[in-house]
């Protein structure tokens, strides 16, 4: 099964939110800039006062791969790994849950999946209109 996320002091808020089914990013308290991956200090205003903001969860596939050899550790089958450009302008690595190969430019929407230790990570599905 999918490995657990690696939690650190500066990133725990992200994974904790996932466990509550919320997809968030780091937001600088004084200047409101969003950052991903998280970091201890805002590189724009140098504040360490941080909060987080819920995202739309929608984005576009920028790139994709599937790790064949060695197969993805922990997974039953190596998943489709995607790089998503979120509507908020940030990028995140995740998975496309699908039987068919991802296509660059496809629109996707966030959902969540459980890990081996009962934690949760954000994954994406195609938006069907």
């Amino acid at each position: 099964m999918r490995p657990d996320p690696i939690k650190r002091i500066d990133t725990a808020f992200f994974w904790d939110a996932c466990e509550q089914g919320k997809f968030v990013v780091q937001k600088c308290e004084p200047c409101n800039t969003l950052w991903h991956p998280p970091r201890p200090m805002c590189p724009k205003c140098h504040s360490v006062e941080k909060t987080h903001q819920k995202l739309s969860g929608k984005g576009v596939i920028m790139s994709w791969v599937r790790q064949v050899r060695p197969a993805s550790y922990g997974f039953e089958n190596s998943p489709f790994v995607i790089l998503v450009e979120l509507n908020e302008g940030l990028r995140i690595v995740s998975n496309l849950i699908s039987d068919s190969v991802p296509v660059i430019g496809e629109i996707v929407e966030v959902d969540f999946e459980k890990t081996v230790g009962g934690k949760s990570v954000p994954i994406f599905k195609r938006v069907v209109d």
Partner: protein, 385 residues
């Protein structure tokens, strides 16, 4: 401007054999490569007074001193960013000797990355506080767990935009293996491949990297000795001048999981390095006689040809199709066979090949080669005689 007698020169190169099972410790590989470089230069290892290696190297500076008998080290550095920064070792060496801090500067890298650990395989025992870990923390739970998977994900937009096919990448692999086939020091000596071989090799990462798009995991050590021109004239070999050495690490860029900044088409750090190099060396990378381009995976060659301005953005595939990278072409690519064909000592064996080309002693010697470009993504150097 420093005077000519202060200029940094490469005076010694050394290496062990490149294998899949060295049968000895990494410390010993380092010591053997360093001794070979000192003997090549004709200097006493006791006189080494500065050194650098990768932050990832397992041999401590103290261990190196203990084996080689170095009397006093005045300056050490360790470099982040793995192989992409392999040529930045030259930046440190140049600064250390031209500033006068050091007289005899050592660069080394030794690894049992095949027999002792698998550099290209997932490592799931990472400390949660490990540094520069976005490639672990933000990729591992999603099944992207190897250098090949991170590299392929970051190259995807470029390959997609310019319609680069697997056969196109195969052409790059064939070029490296052709050169390696006539280099007796290469792991793939007398083993050229065809496009068909490439196309028949198994997928490592879909839809981009087949087995023959990847460099090898190798055991081995490489060392390089640098000193100033006034001291270099007393050494055994023709000094190879460092005409320019530059490095650029840009905001929000990552080591290999470099997904978060820029359009993933252009490589701005290489472009900056190319411009600074041309200004410092008085010659642009594209006008040098030999191109040693870091080849962990085939797509890197396309991106660096454009980044270091051998051709325009989106033109690298055609530049290769036109035969420019052949050893008798305009841009002879890694005549040792590169990291794919010769061995993968984290990029360092491409630097020693550049030096051999300048000395005129390489297995596949480029005729009348006077200058060489050493390229590794975020760093570049132009050397010459």
């Amino acid at each position: 401007m420093i005077s000519s007698f202060q200029k940094a020169c490469i005076v010694g190169i050394g290496q062990t054999e490149f294998s899949k099972a060295s049968g000895r410790s990494e410390q010993q590989l380092a010591a053997e490569a360093i001794l070979a470089a000192c003997n090549d230069a004709g200097i006493d290892p006791a006189s080494i007074d500065g050194m650098t290696t990768f932050s990832l190297d397992n041999s401590d500076e103290v261990d190196v001193m203990r084996s080689l008998g170095c009397e006093e080290i005045k300056y050490t550095t360790r470099l982040p960013q793995g192989g992409a920064a392999s040529v930045s070792t030259i930046v440190h060496a140049k600064n250390a000797v031209e500033s006068g801090i050091c007289d005899t500067f050592l660069i080394f890298r030794a690894m049992n990355e095949r027999s002792q650990y698998r550099f290209g395989q997932p490592h799931h025992s990472m400390s949660p506080d490990a540094h520069s870990s976005t490639f672990m923390e933000w990729c591992f739970p999603f099944g992207a767990q190897t250098p090949a998977s991170w590299e392929a994900l970051s190259c995807g937009p470029y390959l997609h935009k310019y319609g680069v096919t697997s056969e196109d990448l195969g052409r790059i692999a064939v070029t490296f293996r052709k050169a390696a086939s006539t280099n007796p020091n290469a792991w793939f000596y007398e083993k050229p491949i065809t496009i068909e071989d490439h196309q028949n090799s198994r997928w490592i990462v879909e839809p981009t990297l087949r087995l023959l798009d990847c460099c090898q995991e190798s055991d081995g050590g490489v060392a390089i000795i640098i000193t100033r021109a006034d001291k270099a004239k007393d050494c055994k070999q023709t000094p190879v001048q460092i005409l320019g050495a530059e490095y650029s690490m840009l905001f929000n860029h990552e080591i290999i999981s470099d997904f978060y900044q820029g359009d993933l088409i252009r490589t701005e750090n290489s472009e900056i390095v190319a411009d600074r190099l041309a200004a410092a060396a008085g010659i642009a990378p594209k006008d040098t006689d030999v191109a040693m381009i870091y080849d962990n995976f085939t797509p890197q060659v396309l991106r660096q040809l454009e980044g270091f301005k051998y051709c325009g953005i989106g033109e690298a595939n055609d530049y290769i199709k036109d035969g420019n990278l052949e050893l008798d072409g305009k841009t002879p690519l890694s005549p040792n066979g590169g990291l794919m064909g010769e061995g993968y000592i984290h990029g360092m064996n491409n630097i020693t090949e550049g030096v051999r080309q300048m000395r005129g002693t390489a297995a596949n010697q480029i005729r009348n080669a006077k200058t060489a470009m050493l390229a590794s993504g975020v760093a570049g150097a132009i050397i010459g005689v």
